[in-house]
């Protein structure tokens, strides 16, 4: 090969880290102004939507609802939303075929969405991060095996697998968490592996290795903190992905079993009524759209804020 590599320009790196404003040793001057600039426009509306449509309902469902999410009043079946003819404030968003209040079910559905995404991301992140760290840091055959596993799991037809497992052992909360966790660990592993590879080459890790620090210590004290920001961003964005995946699987009957008010199940329940009682399917889907959209906006903002490398690419 030709002499493609030029000596690295140390001076350039120094100026860059000062300009960006996070030198590792010394804190730069005018920190506050830079901080405000880095924070950018905080997406308050999106954060508000995530709180109001997902997190607060999930936590407070029992306190803020008056109807039963599972059992309805048959006499009130297919009641329209309050602003329509025959609608009433008793059922603000109407009722379904069994006379269950749509709003109440959406509120309880938030609990399902939040629990499923929280658990799967926790499991997926722990497995994915561990394997990614090992693969990126040690390289060699460990890396080869982990990369192969990542490739394999990314090549699996997820929906089909979910259908098979559910057909065999029936739908349940545990099944859906396991299926989704299996599909998302690979994205964590791939990302963490890549980041670890680059952090490994950095000067302070090299220094720690020369100083004879044990690998486990380097991984936990040096590498992990350095990829923490990436993990936070990835986890935030994955919440939306998991909510979409869970609701899709629930929609086709391979997720949360009836009569639990998963948003996907609710959309499926109203599918054949869409022409007349459109609200049964429409509102749960709208809840998914709003939450996932807001999560994406928050995730994008977090990425800009926490990951200046990506920010420099000129996103706005």
């Amino acid at each position: 090969m030709s002499v493609g590599n030029q000596p690295t320009r140390g001076s350039d790196d120094v100026t860059r880290s000062i300009e960006v404003g996070h030198d590792r040793e010394g804190r730069p001057v005018k920190k506050r102004r830079r901080f405000r600039r880095r924070v950018g426009h905080i997406p308050w509306i999106s954060i508000g939507i995530v709180l109001v449509v997902l997190i607060l309902p999930a936590l407070l469902a029992d306190l803020i609802t008056v109807h039963d999410p599972l059992r309805g009043t048959l006499g009130d079946r297919l009641a329209p939303p309050f602003w329509m003819e025959d609608g009433s404030w008793t059922y603000p968003l109407g009722t379904d075929k069994q006379g269950r209040d749509i709003l109440t079910r959406i509120i309880y559905g938030a609990r399902i969405s939040l629990t499923v995404s929280g658990l799967t991301i926790l499991i997926g992140a722990v497995i994915g991060t561990s394997l990614g760290l090992l693969a990126g840091y040690f390289g060699g055959w460990i890396d080869r095996i982990v990369s192969w596993l990542i490739d394999t799991f990314l090549s699996l037809p997820h929906v089909l697998l979910a259908l098979v497992i559910v057909a065999a052992i029936g739908p349940s909360f545990v099944t859906i968490v396991a299926i989704i966790a299996v599909t998302i660990w690979a994205s964590f592993a791939r990302q963490v592996r890549g980041e670890t590879l680059s952090v490994r080459e950095s000067e302070y890790v090299a220094r720690a290795r020369v100083a004879g620090a044990p690998s486990a210590r380097i991984l936990l004290r040096h590498v992990l903190p350095n990829i923490a920001n990436t993990l936070i961003v990835l986890a935030t964005l994955q919440v939306g992905v998991v909510i979409l995946e869970e609701s899709s699987l629930s929609f086709i009957g391979a997720g949360i079993p009836r009569p639990n008010p998963s948003w996907g199940v609710m959309v499926a329940d109203g599918r054949d009524q869409i022409l007349i009682s459109w609200w049964i399917s429409f509102f749960p889907g709208l809840a998914i759209l709003l939450v996932v959209l807001s999560l994406n906006l928050v995730g994008d903002w977090l990425r800009d804020f926490l990951d200046p490398k990506l920010r420099q690419r000129g996103r706005d």
Partner: protein, 339 residues
């Protein structure tokens, strides 16, 4: 040291005349006066150095001359850039494109980044020829590409044309970029920080190459740099830029021996004495003013050891003093102290 290239002063008309050029950047955080009323001229075969700290606006000045300020933030707000009797700033974009690469060329500071990684050298160099001469056939483009590479002393040019940028060293890429810039023998060549990205031995080679090209073609060169070492080796005249304006302009020997602006003096004093080139000019106390929030008076006043009350109130105009053009209320005294 100044080279013995002596442009015959006065007898030829300048090839490039810039007057009162102003380029502002409009960002979310305010308007930045990156170039704020700059005037100068360049004779054929002359080399003008423009020196300043980073953030002084010198790179924006270079981009303004070819009308390639970053869109949409950068806008040229006024002034004239007269090349071959035409004001480039008032040309329609299409005609301006015809001027770029033929009458005025520019080489960028980082040769590692200046070539597109996914196209061969032949493609990129050939394009520089084809774009201005759509009639040129395949063979002609090839022949002229080979000739262009030869003119910048690239060995085995035929093979190089088939190569991709990642095959080459930084010095080689810099030469190829030079060959593209010189493909049409322009009258003006702008070199933005031509040496920062190169190591020391290649720097010297590259500067020699530029001078060699100049002697053969008579091109007027503008070198943008923060490095007085480069100025001393290659330039005839120097303009010192600070916070969007020229604060002093003179011949190389005058600047080095008798700087008249306190800023020039401070810059020269801050040079490493051991002769190591490429050091950043960083040892002047304080920081340049933010170009978004400029004081009324002299922009150097807050960092200047000679500053007096008047300096922070009124901006000094450029005045001619003993072969210098200098913008300082106390230039006479500074001169007296340094000589």
């Amino acid at each position: 040291m100044a080279l013995p290239v002596s442009p015959t002063q006065g007898s030829v008309s300048p090839v490039l005349e810039v007057s009162d050029l102003r380029t502002y950047l409009y960002t979310r955080w305010g308007t930045t006066k990156a170039v704020d009323g700059v005037s100068f001229s360049l004779d054929p075969g002359e080399t003008l150095g423009i020196v300043g700290e980073s953030g002084s606006g010198k790179s924006m000045l270079a981009l303004s001359l070819v009308r390639l300020t970053p869109e949409p933030a950068g806008r040229i707000e006024g002034g004239q850039v007269i090349l071959n009797g035409r004001d480039l700033l008032s040309l329609p974009e299409k005609q301006m494109r015809a001027v770029r690469g033929t009458e005025i060329s520019m080489v960028l500071q980082d040769p590692q980044q200046s070539l597109n990684p996914v196209f061969s050298i032949g493609n990129q160099l050939g394009e520089a020829i084809r774009v201005h001469d759509s009639d040129a056939g395949k063979d002609e483009v090839y022949a002229r590409s080979v000739a262009a590479l030869k003119s910048v002393q690239v060995p085995a040019p035929e093979r190089r044309l088939r190569n991709f940028p990642h095959h080459m060293s930084g010095g080689m890429k810099q030469r190829i970029v030079g060959a593209m810039a010189m493909a049409y023998q322009p009258q003006v060549l702008i070199a933005d920080e031509p040496t920062t990205a190169l190591d020391v031995t290649i720097q010297a080679q590259y500067l020699r190459l530029l001078k060699d090209l100049q002697q053969r073609t008579g091109v007027g060169i503008i070198i943008i740099t923060h490095d007085f070492g480069v100025i001393a080796e290659t330039c005839d005249r120097v303009a010192v830029m600070y916070a969007g304006r020229f604060v002093e302009q003179a011949s190389v020997s005058d600047i080095f021996d008798h700087p008249k602006h306190p800023y020039t003096k401070a810059l020269l004093d801050s040079r490493p004495k051991t002769g190591a080139k490429g050091e950043r000019l960083s040892s002047i106390e304080g920081q340049p003013p933010s170009l978004a929030d400029l004081p009324d008076g002299c922009r150097f006043a807050t960092r200047c050891e000679y500053a007096m009350d008047r300096c922070s109130l009124e901006y000094p105009d450029l005045v001619a003093i003993g072969g210098h053009s200098v913008a300082c209320w106390r230039s006479e005294e500074v001169l007296w102290e340094t000589s």
